[in-house]
Symmetry: C5
Subunit: 327 residues, 5 copies
């Protein structure tokens, strides 16, 4: 069960939420498509792998220069996945992105973290999905993730080093038929699905936290509980922002026609959108419950004061007349 948050840590947590938003700041006056190095960006690691129907799936780790070389080996129907973790080495990242003909504005979005989740279909060339990859919670922490897929390739740009894609990678290595046969869009879908799935244990944690706070508010109401409720509400608000735009992004993928997402694949993306909706539904009800906690709290504060007054009044009722009579 999640432990309750303690007051000293609260201001710290609130500051963290605000900091995250700052990454969204644009450099005023810069030309559209301009890319800036994020001051505290993680070091860039690049991992490229070729998964194919014919060759059976060579598993290797490459540096940038070797990507083109790898592409020459790419047989018909095989998929190249370039996973970029950490955005410090902007020059390399741009050169890879340009090699895959990404639009300058897309490159800007991919590298400048703090974007609102969204999806863009660039005709039949490629699809970009910007997401908030959940890292931990409660307290909720997330990083920016961009998934780009086109004919024969998938690119992923992660703000930090992480392992959310490990299960997918293992299934690929284990030779999952489905992942290899349907192609790059199916791999893209699998990655999106892994991100969305990552929200479930975090929301379960918030469910536990909400429950614990309800219990505390009912059984042992504390005067300063309102600050904990405030933090809970802010973090849920932050999760909701991420999920809301992610659901919208998935709807864009379902709506926009592109040859990249074939009809049999649509059912998979629709499933993702359903899960996304389910998460949003959970967050919305936690938000409503946390608002109800405010009422619970305010009522308990009033009750406590009422109790104090009652003691004072009973006391006065007994002793003031007695003092008078005695007097």
């Amino acid at each position: 069960m999640a432990t309750l948050i303690h007051k000293p840590a609260i201001v710290q947590r609130l500051r963290k939420i605000t900091r995250k938003r700052k990454h969204a700041r644009q450099h005023v006056g810069a030309a559209p498509g301009t890319i800036f190095e994020t001051p505290d960006a993680s070091e860039t690691n690049i991992r490229a792998q070729l998964y194919g129907t014919a060759s059976g799936g060579a598993k290797e780790i490459f540096e940038l220069g070797q990507i083109k070389q790898l592409q020459q080996q790419q047989a018909d129907g095989s998929i190249l996945w370039v996973d970029i973790q950490g955005l410090a080495n902007v020059t390399t990242i741009i050169s890879i992105a340009q090699h895959f003909n990404l639009h300058p504005l897309v490159i800007e979005d991919v590298v400048n973290v703090g974007q609102r989740p969204k999806a863009e279909v660039h005709d039949n060339d490629y699809v970009v999905v910007l997401m908030r990859e959940p890292c931990a919670g409660p307290p909720f922490d997330s990083e920016q993730l961009a998934i780009v897929f086109g004919p024969g390739f998938v690119l992923t740009f992660q703000e930090r080093h992480g392992d959310i894609f490990n299960p997918v990678r293992q299934r690929l290595s284990a030779g999952s038929r489905r992942l290899r046969d349907i192609g790059a869009a199916y791999l893209g879908y699998s990655l999106i699905d892994a991100v969305i799935d990552g929200y479930f244990p975090i929301l379960e944690g918030y469910g536990d936290l909400t429950e614990a706070m309800e219990q505390k508010a009912i059984e042992e109401p504390a005067p300063d509980m309102i600050t904990e409720i405030h933090v809970l509400k802010r973090e849920l608000l932050e999760i909701r922002r991420a999920l809301w735009s992610q659901r919208e992004a998935l709807n864009v993928l379902l709506r926009d026609d592109t040859a990249l997402i074939s009809d049999p694949l649509k059912i998979y993306f629709r499933d993702c959108a359903d899960h996304s909706f389910q998460l949003l539904d959970l967050v919305e009800s936690y938000r409503e419950v946390s608002q109800g906690l405010v009422d619970l709290h305010l009522s308990s504060v009033s009750n406590r004061m009422s109790e104090i007054m009652k003691v004072l009044t009973v006391l006065a009722t007994i002793f003031i007349p007695m003092t008078f009579i005695a007097g």
Copy 2:
């Protein structure tokens, strides 16, 4: 009349609501379509029956192996209904589902309980409707139910053993003409209708409860009534979540074109959607009333404190000057 809820039971009830949501958790990193056994799932009972125009409706109870055998007896125009109660025996359930060509993602939804209600039309092959089957209330309890119908067959997957379909079964046995003539989609509709109807007595119970709480708040306001109101609000929120997505699901059935739901049948599904809307309308007004109860309660707390202060003041007004004069 519904009895009021008592404080010791409240934390218990809140915990129950949260637990229910947990079933929705996805196994992070698992391949899409992966099925997990639910730890505390009910034992699986399978009941298959053949209802036909020609043969008149053989009523028997079958085990899995016998389903295919039964299908061989299936005359033109007769319907096979396979009712699966309890989801412990995952292997058997999957084999049945695969026998009817359900999509892997559908099988995942059907077996992994805690899904958001939804409806999917898989072209002219089959229709899936995921619902929350009401079990009891107040306090509200529900289980997952999946209804799948296609040409000549209806499959139902219930999370627990239950009897909500008994009236339909009896009408079938009694040889209701309508149920037999219109086919599998009409049987599917009848089951959906039975589930929706099951919410009416539960909402009536909440109507009584709301009324009792209003009366209590007006006639004998208690300081800790806010916790009861909080529980009422959370349970109504839970019912609303179920009904809201169920109504949406029914709209999908009305909107999406499929040969499975013929035009004369649409009027029946529209009737279901109307009832679903009516239920939602009731829940929304109970929710509004329960929010009004918070105002009633806060005002009564203030009034009580006001009364206490008045006693104290009157007392002081009389005795303090008297004590002074006496002094």
Copy 3:
């Protein structure tokens, strides 16, 4: 001017609102289209009249058996209006409804009271409009009314005996040209219009009541006024529910294409929809005002307590030092 409501009557009024909703309960497990006798239904009175261009309008009161006889006299262009008041005699009602080929689900809706207002266009056969006919208010009371019209006939099913249609009947008897020439749909419209008009004096009553409560809250705030506000809010909520779905129903009539409602008639139905919108607009603003009354009330409670405390403090400020000095 409306009088204010007194506390003993409040619980009674709240109970009445809840009771009304109960009629909406469905008999769980019953076959769709099943009709139940309402336990406390009013005795059934049937009144059939033939209004025609040629014959000039024979005014008579008929029993069931005579309806078919009457239809044989029906000249081209004349209209048969069968008005059924009280739903106790279910068998007779069903036989009439079946005679006019109503769908089983429509018959169910018409006889099982407590339905949500709605309109259904059954191609060019007939149109059904379910409404809440206003009976009295404040306190608001209403009954179910179903208006069915098709080529050459109008059927009305009222939950109780009443006279809301008398003015229309009188205009028919007086030989209003318009009512007779345009046909059954125009008569149907006239009846719908009469029902909608019936809400105006009731809302005027609530306007007076709201005004009186505002005045009371400002000039002589009482501690238990919150209960009166609560009742006001609940009744307005009830009226809003009725009006909201009625407006939707009228929009359905305007949107759905049917030969029954000709283009020149559409302007009349649009006028009805406008009035319906105007009523809804009024209710919404009364609801907002009544929510403002809660603020007014809570503020006055706080002010009163503040005043009491001020008396106590002034008293203490004078006498405690004096007692000390005197001591």
Copy 4:
């Protein structure tokens, strides 16, 4: 700067708002299109003028009988504007309206004041726009106004005598080219534009009032300020109701196709709709600010009580022990 409202006037102002709504009451049971004389209607003044390209614009005041005579002088391209102020003389008004072939339901709307603002396009025959003409504010006062325009004519029906159209009349007399050349629809637009413009100074007044109340709430909070806030909220609610439906009405004009409003004219009506939206936007933010005033007020009430208690406690802390020691 607007002066603050004082308590004795408040109940009066609230009553006025409610009274205005009553005009909306329909006469229950009356035939559609029935017109009733409003008991306290202003005397009817009729002013007809002919503005033309050829004759240059004869300015005269006419009585009813002379309108037809005037029409005979009407040259091709000239416009007849009949302005009716005060609705007491119902018979005359109806005869004029019928002369221009207005639909009975339109005549009913035009004469029975208290309608919800709306616009109706009657094919290419005429366009009706019902508006709330602003008279004064704060406190907000308004009257009903109907503007009807068709080929070669404009009719205006004002509830009371007033001068809101004087600037337009002066521009016509001054021979404004644009007003004369584009025709009746342009004149209609100019009148609508004048009405919408009339809301700006009133909203500016409410801006001043809101500002003054904010200042008062911050600098010298009074216990009964909540009643002033309540009145402010009610009046803003009333203005919002008028503006909301007026914006909708203008959208209807832009959406519905009619030869009466040519494409170059559409840009003018769109400009009107923009202004209407801007006004609504202002009202919505004043409403939000006035809701914030409630928080400001409740907080200041709590603070005041806190201060009183502090005095009492400090006093008690000093003297009670001293009295004991002295004792």
Copy 5:
């Protein structure tokens, strides 16, 4: 980090917000398209520049008379940008606007400041975008800006002198290929983008302010903090108004078909709309947080009072019996 606002400045700031709105006032009764000199308008400075593919970009500052002369030098594919800062010299501004064939209503909007942001596509002639250009914040300050672009020209009308376009100008001077090749619409986009980017640092400031107020509310709650929260809410409301309509305006540009905005350009305008949405999202969450601050504050006020009462009661519990016994 942003400093907290102090009480003396609060009324001043509130007044500033209201003043800004006043500019929106229309001159009642004036003919549509009438332009008024704003009393306190900034002096008009005009700067015209010709940027071309062939000539390479002559950088000069011109007065009005020289614009036509400049146009004669305009080669095929070059762009004329006329930047007007300060709206005092209305006559000159109108003559320039008329020279570019702007519609009278557009000229009115451009010159009469305080308009709601909007975008209008005038077929293939020109596009007008009205925006609120951010100047400072917190406290938020903004001015009206109109951007008009058509084939070969861009006009900008700024309410005050400012430098928000300097970075764009520098990029033009530096000979940015993209800016010169795509044409006037791309320049128009660059200017819109610069304005939208200008909101990011301001919102970052409000993020800091919100964070500081949360910290203060948790660590050192002050009785009059509610007024600071009120100001914060009002300013956020003001920013939201600007951003909301700006996003709508950008959607109009994306939706309306015009040859002025080619398909490859649409992706740039969509990027602008995304940023606009992101800003709106930020403001909405700050607004929700600031509403949570009200709860935090009210709860801390209650807690403080509770503490005071507790001191009083403890004191009374000790000394009143002792005094009695001593007595």
